[in-house]
């Protein structure tokens, strides 16, 4: 019987297999950031262990970094200590680090791919659940805890339990104005936050094949929000074109050998998935969340659901608690939900394409009175590219704030936070209670919906913009 893409990549990394034990897998790339690594380096120190493969390890600073006044000392002493700890650890052990102020600094999941370090058929780990992002290249990529960070530092391997395979096939054409974000939010609502548990998801079908690498990263990024161990997309010409010429992409004969291998990385015709889900791309529309987990979403054109409409008692209870926290009433059209803040950025939607799409919507328009819009590029490279294209000027002219790269308001570990009771439309990945700041209320949206929402002051899509400005005229 044939094998799936995930099974092929797994098989190519088995260092040791023994019955009744987890397989020991080799790790091709280990990404490090300041939050989940200090205790791991402490463990190495306590046991007198070195980092086994410095040449497969790279670090950056992202979660704590401020997005304003980055040339000044970091105001929060605890954040400052955490960043200084990373710098000390990297210097002591010899790990390559791109700190705040460096041209390669940025959100770890934006940095890896743009350097060309993320390639098809690799195993990629990081002490961060959104490591699933790198699956867009046909890599097996997943988030790990700090104990596993230490394990990889010390051994460059991980013992891993077997996984199940799920195919999510998306055929057809995405309608105009419907993005990768709308698609993945729809998928999570359909299968639930636990629906992917134990599975590696492979996204396939004609609609997926047509997506850019940036869009594929958006999809794979949020696999974890469906509870999946990883998400993957088979590499193709789009993948190879993205990689060719990047700093760490193979060169010369190595490139030819790599591409020949990468072309074998697709699910065999006769392979069987444990579960299959089929989505009709043409039936999709802009999609937003109304609740406090990423599986509580609905089309923008819908209303806030009635908790009584959920058959499962725990779903019903969760919906009741979510509406209470979100201060929403069942039956309210989602388009009528007013926001205070719009956040454009994160490892989900902080790439150049996302910035371009949002800029095209706000160009020549103004952010609504009483709304603040934060634009936080995913990396310094993304910011530089945006400046070269004049996107920063478009955002600033519209009244948005153009910030420095980092995780920022996605999780509010730096000063970019919602105040209690504030409501945001956010292109990030989690709408958990308090995620963007204590008492803050988050609606997850696409960059296009974020931009239109900023202009109109309520959840909206670019299509509404033309309609409403038509009415005004």
């Amino acid at each position: 019987m044939g094998r799936t893409l995930a099974e092929k990549v797994w098989d190519d990394h088995v260092v040791r297999h023994a019955d009744g034990e987890p397989d020991l897998l080799y790790i091709d790339l280990h990404l490090i950031h300041e939050v989940t690594s200090p205790q791991a380096f402490d463990g190495l120190r306590m046991n007198g262990r070195p980092v086994r493969r410095l040449d497969l390890t790279i670090a950056t600073e992202d979660h704590n970094t401020p997005t304003l006044d980055i040339d000044k000392p970091i105001a929060d002493p605890v954040s400052r200590t955490q960043l200084e700890t990373l710098r000390k650890n990297c210097a002591e052990f010899g790990v390559r680090l791109h700190p705040l102020g460096d041209v390669e600094q940025g959100v770890v999941h934006v940095v890896g791919p743009q350097l060309g370090l993320t390639q098809p058929g690799m195993t990629v780990v990081c002490g961060d659940s959104h490591t699933s992002t790198h699956g867009a290249f046909g890599a097996l990529a997943f988030g790990i805890g700090t104990s596993q960070v230490e394990h990889v530092l010390a051994t460059q391997t991980l013992p891993l339990a077997p996984f199940k395979t799920m195919a999510i096939t998306v055929d057809g054409e995405l309608p105009a104005g419907v993005t990768a974000k709308d698609l993945i939010l729809t998928i999570i609502t359909k299968i639930g936050t636990g629906g992917g548990q134990g599975y590696v998801i492979e996204y396939r079908g004609s609609a997926i094949e047509k997506l850019s690498m940036e869009a594929r990263m958006t999809i794979c990024n949020m696999s974890i929000e469906a509870g999946a161990r990883a998400g993957m997309i088979a590499p193709d010409q789009t993948t190879f074109d993205y990689l060719e010429g990047r700093d760490h992409a193979p060169k010369g004969e190595d490139w030819d050998a790599a591409v020949a291998y990468w072309k074998t990385l697709k699910t065999d015709e006769d392979a069987v998935f444990d579960t299959e889900v089929v989505i009709d791309a043409a039936a999709l529309s802009p999609f937003v969340t109304w609740g406090t987990n990423p599986g509580q979403g609905a089309p923008l054109s819908a209303i806030v659901p009635d908790p009584a409409s959920f058959a499962d008692p725990s779903d019903r209870m969760a919906a009741e608690k979510a509406l209470e926290y979100m201060a929403l009433s069942a039956g309210t059209p989602l388009r009528e939900v007013k926001v205070d803040t719009v956040f454009l950025g994160s490892c989900t939607n902080g790439r150049i394409e996302d910035l371009r799409a949002a800029a095209a919507v706000v160009e020549g328009r103004q952010v609504a009175d009483g709304v603040r819009m934060l634009v936080v590029p995913g990396s310094v490279r993304v910011a530089l590219q945006a400046v070269e294209e004049g996107l920063d000027k478009v955002f600033k002219a519209a009244g948005a704030e153009w910030r420095h790269a980092g995780c920022s308001m996605c999780l509010g570990m730096n000063p970019d936070q919602l105040a209690p009771g504030e409501r945001s439309a956010s292109t990030s990945n989690r709408n958990f209670e308090g995620r963007q700041g204590k008492g803050g209320r988050t609606h997850l949206v696409s960059p296009q919906v974020a931009a239109a929402t900023a202009v109109l002051g309520h959840l909206a899509s670019p299509a509404d913009l033309t309609a409403e400005s038509g009415l005004e005229a």
Binding site: V15, Q39, R96, S147, A161, T193
Partner: protein, 197 residues
């Protein structure tokens, strides 16, 4: 890692699904660079509500958390496990755990026990009616026991063996050094390196 064999203690019934890692330990706590001192951050936002179950005096000293489905969803932060352990929890029972949270728990000796939602309901009813009711989580016999309830649970033999003996994964893996070196010797040259060596 601390070994886990069997544990008996009072319970905290947490009637919430999707208790995500941002609820278990909010992000601002993650700035600490140690593995301890997280107890005050556990469910920090929910604890602001005086009626929250963890604030009830009769739950003081409880060591078994009985939670709704999809416990530990979200981030990979191991701090969530440390917070539960720092607070005093030895085991968490739920019908479904997020994968990364579960992996992190088992590496720290916090036992995560998967039981059917009906059994979780029974345990909720029992411990809500009688806060002094004790729950035993027995890893040797892979069984949860409480007044009128005996429920077997699954945990693979390898994970169970490591927990029962409190074994450190890294030492076990380093025992396979020859396999790792052999694998490294045959890695293709086109695989990327972060350093030019």
């Amino acid at each position: 890692m601390e070994a886990f064999t069997t544990h008996t203690g009072r319970a905290v019934p947490l009637r919430r699904s999707n208790a995500d890692t941002d609820q278990i330990i909010p992000a601002h706590w993650l700035k600490k660079v140690t593995r301890n001192g997280f107890e005050d951050g556990l469910f920090e936002a929910w604890r602001k509500d005086p009626s929250f179950v963890l604030n009830q005096p009769e739950r003081k000293g409880a060591t078994v958390l009985v939670a709704g489905p999809d416990f530990g969803t979200g981030s990979s932060r191991e701090h969530a496990v440390w917070a539960l352990q720092n607070y005093g929890f030895k085991a968490v029972i739920s019908s479904r755990f997020a994968d990364i949270f579960r992996g992190n728990s088992l590496k720290n000796g916090l036992l995560t026990v998967i039981l059917p939602q009906e059994t979780v309901e029974q345990l909720w009813k029992l411990t809500e009616a009688d806060p002094t009711a004790e729950i035993t989580v027995d890893l040797e016999s892979r069984e949860v026991r409480a007044a009128g309830i005996t429920a077997p649970f699954e945990l693979d033999d390898n994970a169970r063996w490591r927990l029962l003996n409190g074994l450190d994964d890294i030492s076990l893996t380093l025992g396979n050094e020859a396999d790792i070196s052999a694998y490294e010797a045959k890695r293709p040259s086109f695989k990327p390196r972060t350093l030019h060596v």
